[in-house]
Amino acid sequence: MHLYTLTNSNNNFRMIIMKPMKFLKLPALLAFMLLLTGCGSSLVLENVDYSQPLESVLSPDSDGVVHDQRYAIQFNITPLLEYEGTDSVEEIRLIRNTPGFYFVTADGFSNVYIFSPGEGELSLHEEVELPDGPISEPAFNQRTTHIELINQSSGQTYNLDQNGIR
């Protein structure tokens, strides 16, 4: 498995493609996690709803940075475009589901990218290849249990969650 991360360093985002790493032995990992948990705070707020009621339609600036003022997020999409294999897009569609994953796609994309937010970065959690090929005029809708993706030109819809097409 590859881990792709959109990071923000000195206002420039870069995609780091990490090479496959060797897994630590499971017992050692569990012990390490227990140690970390024991050292941190025990306060956890549960049932947090991160969902955005509406998708954000964002146009990148000349540097490829998109800025969503309403939901207060800014990042550079250049690495994503390179990964998708396209030069530029007019706008991207962004929506966040209840657990807090970001769904990103754009007109002509063959994939939906699902990112999990980290400290100053968005890490690719799942790359969902659309079964009917590149999507035209995509739109995300927030639904109670999932994210709905519409191909507005064909009427095709896909129900997504952070794990892919349901």
Binding site: L54, R93, N141
Partner: protein, 407 residues
């Protein structure tokens, strides 16, 4: 097609349509819905802003209702997009905007109706006053042509006077109408009418100007008029002046708001020119009429001088009668008294007062002085004196007789 197959066909069609509708509903983008809502509402508010016709605004009201019913189911979605504003707030604001626009349109509509009515009335006044002027003018020309025929001239003069009276009556009605409309008109209404009146080609002020000019023209060009006609004209001027003083400011503020003081001055000057024209004829004519009736007054050219002239005439007669008490003085008194009571007071009295030529109190003072003159001018009888002499003589005779008998 038999019945069961037909039933299956219809059911399939309904299901297919239902599926398609569901599919269509499912294809809607929430983002697009709120975008469409904002765009449609924005377009509607712009149209409300620029529409003035009540009919068009009523159509927009229907469109707003349709928009509300179309997007009501998406209220929650739109609220999320509009936060911190809400769907209801936007709709209420637009409804309020529409309500204000409808009120404004109603006011504009009323103003338009008022202007239409005003234009109609002004046209009617203009037309009628023109007819009256033409009639008066025609009679004046006929009078001038009939100078050689006294009988015909007298008949024409009667008609001419009737025509002037009719004109005066019409103008008085017009002034009365103006008074009732503009005497107590508030500032807001003045401004509303002023805005609408900008579209008028003619307006009451212009009509007033032309009426005054016509009056001046009638006075200057009429040669056959007599004292009562001029007295009546002065009375008409005073009534006009009273109305103008009462509504002049409101009229100029309404119909000439940009140069109200200049317009008021212009009318004031025309009024002054009118009364000057009347007075030029009036004093001379009055003097001639008194003179023709054997009453020679001092020269007068103002109402006060006219009063002084009459009062002095009566006072001088009174003094003379006191001094001489002659039959001749009594005849002078009788002549004046007859003319004063039967002509001046009986025929001209009201118009003299209305025209501010003489006031009621001045007439009363002349009456009082005239009574004094009457008392002084009545010839005193010698009969009592003679009877007294005779009585004294009889008494003296009787006394002498008694004394003589005793002796």
């Amino acid at each position: 097609m038999n019945a069961p197959i037909k039933k299956i066909y219809i059911t399939t069609t309904i299901l297919l349509l239902a599926f398609l509708q569901t599919a269509l509903v499912a294809q809607q983008s929430d983002y697009q819905i709120q975008q469409n809502f904002s765009a449609e509402l924005s377009e509607l508010t712009q149209r409300i802003d620029t529409t003035q016709s009540p009919g068009e605004l009523a159509k927009l009201e229907i469109e707003l209702d349709e928009l509300r019913s179309r997007y009501a189911e998406h209220e929650e979605l739109i609220n999320a997009a509009l936060y911190p504003e809400t769907y209801q707030k936007r709709m209420n604001e637009t409804e309020e905007q529409l309500s204000v626009a409808l009120d404004n349109a109603s006011v504009i509509d009323q103003l338009n109706s008022r202007i239409t009515s005003l234009v109609g009335e002004i046209d009617a006044y203009r037309s009628q006053i023109t007819d009256l002027n033409e009639n008066t003018q025609a009679l004046r020309e006929q009078l001038q042509r009939a100078e050689s025929n006294e009988e015909r001239q007298a008949a024409l003069l009667t008609q001419y006077r009737q025509s002037l009276e009719e004109r005066n009556s019409f103008v008085s009605g017009f002034l009365q109408n103006l008074m009732s409309r503009y005497q107590n008109v508030d500032l807001g209404t003045q401004q509303e009418i002023a805005e609408a009146a900008e579209r008028l080609d003619d307006n009451p002020i212009e009509i007033l100007k032309s009426i005054i000019l016509d009056y001046i023209n009638i006075v200057d060009e009429s040669t056959s008029l007599e004292t009562p006609d001029y007295v009546a004209m002065r009375a008409q001027h005073e009534y006009f002046s009273e109305v103008w003083n009462s509504i002049g400011s409101n009229l100029v503020n309404t119909f000439s708001p940009e140069n109200s003081s200049e317009t008021k001055t212009e009318i004031d000057e025309l009024m002054a020119a009118w009364v000057l024209s009347v007075d030029n004829q009036l004093w001379e004519s009055l003097n001639d009429t008194f003179s023709q009736n054997g009453i020679d007054l001092e020269v007068f050219t103002t109402p006060d001088e006219f009063y002084d002239a009459i009062y002095n005439y009566v006072d001088n007669g009174h003094v003379t009668s006191l001094e001489r008490n002659s039959e001749e003085d009594f005849a002078v008194y009788q002549n004046f008294s007859t003319f004063w009571n039967e002509t001046v007071k009986a025929e001209w009295g009201d118009m003299l007062i209305e025209g501010e030529i003489l006031s009621q109190s001045q007439i009363s003072e002349i009456d009082i002085k005239l009574n004094d003159w009457e008392e002084a001018s009545k010839p005193t009888s010698n009969l009592m004196f003679i009877l007294l002499i005779v009585s004294v003589a009889v008494i003296v005779g009787l006394i002498v007789l008694l004394i003589t008998k005793k002796n």
